[in-house]
């Protein structure tokens, strides 16, 4: 009987991928909740990673008809009796467990939650769905295939155009030396001597002998030369290149937000989604991104991310204070020639009326020329949506910015009432940029 042995290791891996996708589909609701929570809780730069999700077992149960674990008359047969004799009684342990040894659920799952980790791609999929991104943008964001080739040593194989002559010749020379390949000069000298003897030969017996010897060694050398190639395939060296994900320069992203009392938590949450998305877009394009958070009421201050999103302030609203602060920070830390500067501003549109002129001026003269993009979103409650839908009812800031938007292709603005409104800002932004570039 012959035995067949089959090596299955080269078979495609990830056979269970399709099953995993189906599982994620089934557990979608829970996963979505987890992602929603993570949008609220995670730091901007931290979004692009994996997420551990707890799924209540009940939601992904596979029920069967099973006997209840309690009640009725049951018999257990157990090993390892030490002292019991027939008729002994044992206290029944509380509830489950006890005599039969715990028959955990046949699936081997306890009551605990079922925990699993979403991969980066899976996480982004759900995230994008949450941010209601159109498909095109999704592929753009997930695609990391911008590579450029970097020299990475040498290899023994490659295409002819990558042949490294110096290395190859050095190998060839070393090999020829080691194997004592006769040099061309050596052979030439021999040939010359033979020729001399043949021509002017006076046929002395010692010359005869010499000639024979020379001819013999000439033959040996020629044979040797033929056997030992001048360049052998093992000498070949090629320049090796490795594709490295392409890092473009660095970027800094300014987040400006009005944190005066009129901004509700809901509005801030919308604003955060917006910032998050911008950060994601930028992280596709740049290998290094810094984020600067500036919040303002009647005066502006650079703060950390947590304070930015979570602490409340009271006071009036002077938008230009934030713009001036941004101008100061750029001048101090982010020279334009080294940094790509992006800014995103979120506000409910309020501004102190005496500040309007200053605000437009700083934007037009100082900031917009510096920035790749400047995006402004006006976050509004659903309740005020009707009032503000029309341009004529626009807020103070909106009216001032509107003029800027008309003149500057790198400035985009948008009112945001709900999650779904966020993405179009980007659309507008990039569409504008493309037009400007064309």
């Amino acid at each position: 009987m012959g035995m067949i042995i089959v090596d299955r290791r080269p078979n495609p891996k990830g056979k269970s991928h399709a099953n995993r996708q189906r599982f994620i589909r089934v557990a979608k609701e829970t996963i979505r909740e987890a992602v929603r929570r993570s949008i609220r809780e995670r730091a901007l730069g931290d979004v692009d990673t994996r997420e551990v999700v707890d799924i209540p077992v009940k939601r992904i149960q596979e029920p069967r008809f099973r006997h209840s674990s309690q009640g009725g008359q049951r018999d257990y047969v157990l090993p390892g009796n030490k002292e019991y004799v027939q008729g002994d009684t044992l206290p029944r342990p509380d509830q489950q467990g006890g005599g039969g040894g715990r028959e955990g659920s046949p699936d081997g799952e306890g009551e605990d939650n079922f925990q699993f980790t979403l991969s980066r791609d899976e996480y982004l999929d759900v995230l994008f769905e949450e941010l209601e991104l159109p498909d095109l943008a999704k592929t753009y964001l997930k695609d990391m295939t911008a590579f450029h080739n970097v020299r990475a040593g040498f290899s023994a194989s490659g295409s002819p155009n990558n042949l490294n002559l110096v290395r190859t010749m050095r190998n060839s020379l070393a090999r020829r030396l080691c194997l004592h390949r006769p040099r061309a000069a050596e052979l030439d000298a021999l040939e010359a001597e033979i020729a001399a003897l043949e021509t002017f030969g006076e046929c002395k017996p010692e010359d005869d002998a010499r000639l024979t010897a020379l001819r013999a060694s000439h033959a040996t050398l020629t044979r040797r030369m033929k056997r030992i190639a001048f360049i052998d395939p093992i000498d070949l060296r090629f320049n090796r290149y490795e594709p490295i994900p392409k890092p473009e320069a660095q970027a800094v992203m300014f987040c400006l937000m009005d944190v005066s009392g009129s901004m509700t938590e809901g509005m801030k949450d919308l604003a955060k989604r917006f910032f998050l998305l911008l950060h994601l877009f930028l992280s596709r394009k740049y290998d290094h991104i810094e984020v600067v958070f500036i919040r303002h009421t009647s005066e502006a201050k650079e703060v950390d991310e947590d304070t930015f999103f979570h602490s409340r302030e009271t006071g009036g609203t002077v938008v230009s204070s934030a713009l001036a602060e941004m101008r100061r920070i750029v001048a101090e830390r982010y020279p334009v020639e080294e940094w790509n500067i992006y800014a995103a501003q979120a506000s409910d549109g309020d501004n102190y009326s005496g500040d309007r002129e200053a605000c437009t001026r700083i934007m037009q003269e100082d900031l917009l020329p510096l920035c790749q993009y400047f995006a402004y979103i006006e976050v509004l409650d659903e309740s005020s949506a009707d009032i503000f839908r029309s341009e004529s009812n626009a807020s103070v800031l909106w009216r001032d910015y509107k003029e800027l938007a008309d003149q500057n292709p790198n400035f985009a603005m948008k009112r945001v009432f709900s999650k779904a409104d966020i993405f179009p800002v980007f659309h507008q932004l990039f569409a504008k940029a493309r037009r400007a570039a064309a």
Binding site: M1, M3, I4, I5, V6, D7, R8, R9, N11, K13, K15, S16, A18, N19, R20, R22, F23, I24, V26, I60, Q61, E62, P63, R64, F65, R66, H67, S68, S69, Q70, G71, G72, Q73, R74, D75, Y76, V77, L78, P79, G80, N81, K82, Y84, V85, Q86, D88, T89, L90, P91, R92, G98, G99, G100, G101, R102, G104, E109, F114, Q115, F116
Partner: protein, 512 residues
């Protein structure tokens, strides 16, 4: 092969190569077939990575399987347990097919590969080929083709009707797998014909829609009072009572589309294929463990494996057959490998070196001297419960210190009913045999009746044994699934041994 002339070792050290695997397989085969007289299917050894082992795990160990979210769930769990080091991977997976496929993992040492081949490729393989349940209920020739048909059929359905629609049927059918097997009778069928049959069903269906459902209830018609005679003929036509719920649903559900029936059938066929494994788990492992033990020892005796290797084998073997006592925190039920192996060894003892007690207990086999003959007979003709009832000796009951504990719901404490003494042997043995009897382990649920007219309600009955009820929440969830497949209301009534009704659940289809 090896350097020193005197060494006959098949391999040295932990590393394996295709050559040593092949050579070792041949040596094992010579012992298994030549000396032990095993009769396995031809073998195919497949080498896989640990990742592939995880893959195989989550789809019930089969190399090909249709896609379903529950397998994804199992994979996630298994992978996590494995990565965190809570559980190792099984050393082997073996498939009841012809040729018999055994997986061996690339990470195993050569000694482990030898152990796995002896265990799976000869132990399990012999059992699969010879045990009457496998012979009668499974089709080793056709299973792989059938699974690949099932996989592509499910994929086609997903494409045509959407993943959600397919999932609806599979989720429900999976919930009924335990009640989706024929236990006592069978019309023999070849899995190879299944594909043709699926096609035939599609064609046939249009013409002959189920006669039983021809009486569509007219508007305003009140339910006709059931008369006895009508009742009997209807029940006969439906083949009631029917214990195979999946079969009944596949055949008689008024609402299912053809492709949905086919999905139900696929799940049912797979449940049936695995049913013998559930019934013979302990014997099957016992057989494989006994076989590998004999073979490895023989290899050592013949000087074919070294002492280090033997030591490694023994460590691994004793882990496999480790049985913690009931009061040990590690205790989690009786280890089928341990009990199985002990029973095989005990039979060996009775056959070769019986005591007076053994002669009295098992006059048929005591002292006959034919170890393999006796074992092969047992492996072929028994399942776990019958095997225990027939072969568990007082000697082994004493050795394992088995005792029987009674748990009566109206008593405040457990009672020790029997221990390893004269008065207790029979009772311990009977209780242990019953523990392996699926008829007691799994709830006994059957289709009792269907109201063909009127509301078309499906009536199930749970025959309660020993007052053990169902886990209520799960039962209701399953009932909901049945209602989905049936398309109308479904009722489950629990009837105890006195014929009294203990509970009644009812479920309606979700999308009626």
């Amino acid at each position: 092969m090896s350097g020193s002339g005197s060494s006959r070792l098949l391999f040295e050290g932990a590393e394996w190569t295709f050559d040593t695997v092949k050579r070792t397989f041949d040596a094992i085969e010579a012992i298994a077939i030549g000396e032990l007289g095993l009769e396995p299917y031809p073998n195919q050894i497949e080498l896989i990575s640990s990742e592939q082992m995880l893959d195989a795990y989550s789809s019930i160990g089969m190399p090909i399987f249709y896609n379903h979210w529950s397998f994804g769930k199992h994979f996630v769990r298994d992978e996590k347990m494995y990565r965190k080091g809570y559980s190792g991977l099984a050393y082997e997976i073996v498939i009841n097919s012809n040729p018999c496929i055994s997986y061996i993992m690339e990470d195993n040492t050569m000694t482990m590969q030898a152990l796995v081949m002896a265990h799976a490729a000869f132990g399990h393989n012999h059992f699969f080929r010879n045990n009457y349940l496998f012979k009668e209920w499974t089709d080793a020739e056709g299973i792989l083709d059938y699974l690949s048909f099932a996989k592509s059929y499910v994929a086609q359905c997903e494409e045509k009707h959407g993943i959600a629609a397919v999932e609806r049927v599979l989720d429900a059918a999976h919930a009924l797998m335990d009640q989706g097997v024929n236990r006592y009778s069978r019309i023999r069928q070849k899995l190879a014909d299944e594909e043709k049959r699926a096609e035939a069903r599609r064609q046939h269906h249009q013409e002959t829609y189920n006669d039983l459902w021809r009486t569509v209830p007219k508007l305003g018609e009140t339910e006709t009072p059931p008369d006895e005679k009508d009742n009997d003929s209807r029940r006969a036509a439906l083949g009631l009572p029917e214990e195979n719920l999946l079969y009944f649903i596949e055949k008689f559900s008024p609402r299912l589309e053809n492709w949905e029936r086919e999905l139900v059938r696929i799940v049912r066929n797979i449940a049936q294929y695995f049913y013998p494994q559930k019934q013979t788990k302990m014997m099957n492992e016992g057989c494989a463990t006994y076989v590998h033990y004999r073979i490895m020892n023989r290899l050592y005796d013949q000087g074919l494996i070294g002492e280090g290797s033997m030591l490694e084998f023994l460590t691994s073997h004793s882990n496999v057959v480790f049985q913690p006592d009931f009061d040990d925190p590690r205790y989690s039920g009786i280890n089928p490998y341990a009990l199985g192996f002990e029973m095989m060894r005990d039979i060996e003892r009775v056959v070769t070196d019986p005591t007076e007690e053994d002669r009295a207990f098992m006059p048929d086999i005591a002292g006959t001297g034919d170890v393999m003959g006796t074992l092969k007979h047992a492996w072929a003709g028994f399942r776990d419960d019958a095997f225990v009832a027939q072969f568990l000796t007082p000697h082994l009951i004493r050795k394992l210190h088995l005792f029987k504990l009674g748990d009566r719901q109206d008593e405040p404490h457990y009672r020790v009913d029997a221990i390893h003494d004269e008065r207790g042997y029979i009772e311990v043995r009977r209780a242990l045999a019953r523990h392996y009897d699926l008829a007691f382990r799994e709830p006994n649920i059957e289709v009792a009746d269907v109201r063909l007219k009127g509301d078309r309600r499906l009536e199930l009955v749970h025959r309660i044994t020993n007052d053990v009820l169902l886990s209520e929440q799960e039962a209701k969830a399953v009932l909901g699934y049945i209602a989905d497949l049936w398309g109308y209301n479904v009722q489950l009534e629990g009837i105890d041994s006195d014929g009294a009704s203990r509970y009644r659940y009812e479920a309606s289809p979700k999308n009626a």
